[in-house]
């Protein structure tokens, strides 16, 4: 560690830190554009100018490695004048049409123009334009507008250093310099939209979010992507029950500053309004009728009780088969196990998880973190005591799916807590196998082949409508919060299970996800000693190196990082 004095304040920073990081550690905000904590240092924007004692010339602080005993003067007249100068240079050719720019409100150029820069413009020369390179898609997600580019090269470095795909480059020279894709290429990689995140201005924006909402209207809720078991920390940004975008939330131990395009643009999915309604089959008919939650759960209880009684009579196991899901929270899966296995004694719930496309994200702690499953929480399912189904393992589900058991030993009740637990839930042949059960009960977010075949449908909330925890590929327990209350007709899986358990007086219907969390902690591996309220509950915290510790320190002050100062609309009061 090096002791550095910034504007009279002494801070200790790692030896490999630079003067800009030292300033931030000391709480002195030095404006910057090209510096990014995860990209190489280029010192190009010349915004972060400070004075360093003993060095006659003004210095770009991001390019100055710290030394023990270094004295940085970040707020001298000379330093401020230098930043003023850079700001002026940046603005002489900028269109300055923030009112029609989608970055407005989260633009570094706006922010820094308020902090540094002249109150009026001194130029009267015509401004530079980039005909043909404005408002043009450069890839499936990213739209480029070079009139707004400040040539900081963050996007270029992102594509070179993080994704390693190198699609972007500077074109032309001097005042004509702009960023574009290499001849014949598109900005098309697994993380391409992150280029728009790193862009400090409105030069790169995403097609999906562009002009959908002014950012200052957005409420932000912390969540975790449920696309795969990496569990990228994300922020769900929404307003009036509509999710406008999801953004990565900085987490050095998981996704760092990034998230994949697939996960990011699942926001569309969260906005689907085709919620189902509670439905039960009309006795002796092909049709289902809509009902209320009370009746639906009563019928579920009756079906299960009947199967349990039969089970006693014919003494065969597996009459009630329960399927959890790696797409549900650990709390929800644990409730399944508590209710069905521990209390109703109908056997261990099982779960199946699909293989997904292989995903990887570069992070600070592991180098790379990999995801191979199509669901976020298989580890949470296992920790909660569910049994992972493996073809040929002879389990009840396996027997059902191996087709030989169409007999009296078929389950009387098949209770599926997530109708979309596998891709195959849309495959009629697969659904027919499940349909061998006498009574088929499903929780379902939206309609699919399986819900069509079910006898009882219990409509459940999407990710944005629930809270709980997932366990990611590294065993890290991470919490999601409720961003949007689902319509009253829909309940979270947690509520459904609590109310069902309440039918036997086995579960307390007043419990929240936090209560479940706290009640299951002692028995669920990896959850011991965790606190619901710690910033995104952390399981098996990686040993924090000084650099990482600094990182956390630094990140707290990084204007790149979302500040969750505003409670989300749906925040339960207990958490305040």
């Amino acid at each position: 560690m090096a002791k550095v004095t910034v504007d009279g304040k002494v801070v200790e920073v790692p030896n490999d830190a630079n003067a800009l990081e030292a300033c931030r550690a000391a709480g002195v905000d030095v404006p910057h554009f090209c510096y990014h904590p995860r990209l190489s240092i280029v010192g190009q924007c010349r915004m972060c100018m400070v004075e360093v004692e003993g060095v006659p010339k003004i210095q770009a602080s991001c390019t100055v490695p710290v030394r023990d005993g270094m004295v940085i003067k970040a707020s001298t007249e000379k330093a401020l004048a230098a930043r003023n100068a850079t700001m002026e240079f940046l603005l002489i050719n900028h269109p300055l049409d923030c009112p029609i720019c989608d970055q407005a409100g989260e633009c570094k150029l706006q922010d820094n123009a308020v902090g540094a820069g002249l109150p009026v413009s001194r130029t009267s020369e015509p401004r530079r334009q980039f005909p043909g390179y404005d408002r043009t898609p450069i890839g499936p997600h990213v739209i480029a507008d070079m009139t707004r580019c400040i040539q900081c090269t963050r996007c270029i470095r992102f594509c070179e250093e993080i994704t390693g795909t190198g699609e972007l480059t500077f074109v032309e020279r001097g005042g004509h310099t702009f960023v574009w894709t290499h001849e014949g290429r598109a900005l098309d990689n697994d993380l391409s939209a992150c280029a728009a995140d790193v862009c400090p201005v409105g030069a790169l924006t995403t097609k999906e979010f562009r002009f959908r909402k002014r950012v200052w209207w957005l409420d932000k809720t912390r969540s975790v992507c449920d696309g795969c078991e990496i569990g990228c920390n994300m922020s769900i940004e929404h307003r009036d029950r509509i999710v406008y975008r999801t953004l990565p939330r900085v987490q050095p131990a998981v996704n760092d500053f990034w998230m994949c395009d697939y996960g990011r643009f699942r926001a569309e999915d969260l906005n689907r309004q085709d919620f189902l309604k509670p439905e039960i089959r009309v006795a002796g008919s092909d049709a289902r009728k809509q009902t209320n939650w009370g009746e639906a759960l009563d019928v579920v209880k009756i079906a299960i009780d009947r199967a349990r009684n039969e089970e006693k009579n014919i003494a065969s196991k597996g009459r009630v088969l329960v399927l959890g899901s790696a797409r549900l929270t650990t709390e929800e899966n644990w409730l399944l196990k508590t209710l069905f296995e521990d209390s109703l004694k109908v056997g261990t719930p099982e779960f199946v998880v699909d293989k997904g496309p292989k995903r990887r994200i570069k992070n600070k702690v592991d180098g790379w973190i990999y995801g191979t499953e199509a669901a976020p929480n298989s580890r949470g399912c296992e920790a909660a005591g569910l049994k992972r189904n493996r073809p040929g393992d002879g389990s009840a589900l396996d027997l059902l799916l191996s087709k030989k058991s169409f007999s009296s030993s078929s389950p009387a009740v098949l209770y599926i807590a997530d109708a979309a637990f596998t891709e195959r839930a849309n495959d009629l042949e697969f659904v027919l196998l499940l349909r061998q059960a006498s009574v088929l009960i499903v929780h379902a977010r939206v309609k699919n082949a399986l819900t069509d075949a079910a006898d009882i449908v219990l409509p459940s909330a999407p990710l944005s409508g629930k809270e709980g925890t997932f366990v990611n590929a590294k065993g890290r327990v991470q919490r999601v919060d409720t961003a949007i209350m689902s319509p009253p007709v829909v309940r979270t899986d947690l509520e459904i299970l609590l109310h069902l358990g309440g039918r036997w007086d086995l579960l307390d219907t007043r419990w929240t996800a936090r209560d479940v969390f706290e009640n299951m902690q002692a028995s669920v591996a990896g959850y011991e000693g965790l606190a619901w309220d710690s910033d995104a509950v952390v399981g098996n915290p990686p040993s924090i190196s000084p650099a990482a510790a600094y990182d956390v320190l630094g990140l707290e002050r990084d204007p790149d990082v979302e500040v969750f100062s505003r409670p989300s609309v749906a925040a339960p009061d207990r958490r305040s």
């Binding site: 010349r46 540094a116 002249l118 009026v120």
Partner: protein, 458 residues
Amino acid sequence: MSGLAPIEPVLLSRRGKPDSASIETYLEDGGYASWKKVLGGAKSGEWTPAKVTDLVKASGLRGRGGAGFPCGMKWTFVPPKEKRGDKPVYLLCNADESEPGTFKDRLLMEMDPHQVLEGMMLASFALDVKHAYLYIRGEMVHVAELLNKAVADAYAKGFLGKDVLGSGRNLDITIHRGAGAYICGEETALIESLEGKRGHPRIKPPFPAVSGVWECPTVVNNVETLCCVKHILDRGPEWFKSIGRNEKNTGPKLYCISGHVEKPGVYEAPLGVSWNTLLAMAGGVKGGRKLKAVIPGGPSAAMLTAKEVENLPMDFDGVAAAKSMLGSAAIIVMDETTDIPKAVTSIAKFFAHESCGQCTPCREGTPWMHKMLKRIVNGEGKKTDLDLLLQIAGQMGNGMTICVFADAAIAPVLSGITKFREEFEAYVAKSNHPDFALAAPEDLTNKVADRTAAGIHS
């Protein structure tokens, strides 16, 4: 006995000889003698890299590329073998020569390419280099071809390749053509360009001697510097030091004289020769007209008035004392008919065109200055323009950018406007610009101070 007495040409000694570029005539004239001498004594230990470096140090040779950095000292910055480990050391001969008014390296390469190669060979020996590169300005296609032929001939004669002249040492030389960018003459941009990247100057430190091309220790030397090395090895450091104004400015120097003189061209004279002598060598001011201004070291150097340049010793320290620089010794002479604002505008255009575009102040400032100057000479100047120009120039240099290109770009503007302000004011006075309400720059300064006082700055 003055070091400034006229000298027999050294670097240009073979100028005008028939077929001077061929290896045969070079050998006839005693070429490659030093290379043979050094390699011949390498096995016995009579000649060691340290000995060559010491000779160059003793000669007082300063780099001819622009900065005038002591050549031998630069070589000693390369970390010793114990420190650099397996990393090879590279020598890059900087032949990007793009500073307007500079045409000496081209002459050396065209006229006497083997002189350049021998200089590179000797420097490679001193630096333990196995592979040296000559980075030549993209536009000089025919010179690159000529050099390639010279390199091939040197290989054929055994002066390059494996086990050169039985010394057990290997040396390769590659001629690399740039793509035509002035900034690639800046040594770290040259390195990036050689690596196949855009010519962007790098942040220093690390300096090339520690981490240069492919992150290996690298020495960049100008063509003329390396030619001097050959002559130092031929004739010894004492001879070299006997030429020149003083201990710090030694050896023969090529001066490129252009503009309003009777006989523009490359002249060889002792480093530190007085301005008046040089001007006389070039035949005096064209048509006997009066001298107005001189650019002593290419457009990167501040202009000097006729009065300032009078009797000025034309060496690194002499010109620096007049608050300009010798640079590449590209001397542009401007007589009384010269329109200084137009000259400055033309230089500003060059710099706006050649900025690499990385650093905000340079990328934005150079075209801004050019646009304003163009407007002024087009008769649309404003009263506030001149002060604004000085202020813009004042906020581009002195550490505001990665490389000193920006410092170079502001020198002609600052010196032109300060020294010839009346000429600019005459343009503004004739201007038909409405001069719409813009606060004078002074007022803004106050506003900035107000904002600072009010704590608006972060």
